[in-house]
Symmetry: C2
Subunit: 109 residues, 2 copies
DNA sequence: TCATTTGTTCATAAATTTATGAACTATTGA
DNA sequence: TCAATAGTTCATAAATTTATGAACAAATGA
């Protein structure tokens, strides 16, 4: 594979680490503060095994840091850039929603 | 589903639209200028059917606009925010790579 | 020491995404 | 009209991701 294609592949892996509803929810939570596994689980709900796997996808993708206290496993964003990128993509989504709504209104007239 | 979960799902769909090596390559190309299908194809290579499908994923995700000239189908970024978000994620990837390299060096000493 | 808490790991099934090639459509130019 | 250009759509197979529950491990506290 060309060097460029390698880079795009790595880039895509980091992007995939944010591309899931639960993972985006976790990113928003961790934007405010570091949290431990059970805190995140109690907020997001669902199975602990599922959350644990998603968190490890995010750590492997380099977007989360993890720190092990004797009692708890703490997770935090590796960089503010992650939350910033997610915010931009959210705004792109909002724009697309508005645009679609306008199209709808136009058709209904 | 709760309203929040719905939002995270839509948000994730837009994020998925950038989370593929070929799609990131297309985003970088379109950051500079609007291009038509065959131009993109000649730069990225691969099958035309594959490119066409990836482009439609991106249009459906709201990150690309498409315009049909009688001769060609032109594609462009729906917003500069898309390229900005990708740039941030690329920088997160670079940071992760550097960090991993440092870890490596530490272990090899 | 033994039960409890706090997660991770594993196997598996289900769902989704991706790649491929063939078939198809629409427009243009000879 | 007929061939060529420019792309889309479709069926299918392969790969990857996701969800689930059970089993496991490590640390704590009674």
């Amino acid at each position: 594979m060309s060097k460029d294609k390698e880079i795009y592949k790595l880039h895509a892996e980091v992007c995939k680490a944010i591309a899931h509803p639960l993972r985006l929810e976790v990113i928003e939570l961790l934007h405010a503060e570091e949290l431990c596994f059970s805190d995140i689980l109690s907020i997001t709900g669902g199975l602990k095994s599922n959350l644990s796997q998603h968190l490890s996808v995010m750590v492997a993708g380099g977007i989360l840091n993890t720190r092990k206290d004797s009692r708890c496993n703490y997770y935090s964003l590796s960089s503010g850039k992650v939350a910033e990128a997610c915010g931009l993509m959210k705004s792109v989504m909002m724009d697309a929603m508005l645009k679609q709504r306008e199209m709808h209104n136009l058709i209904l007239q």
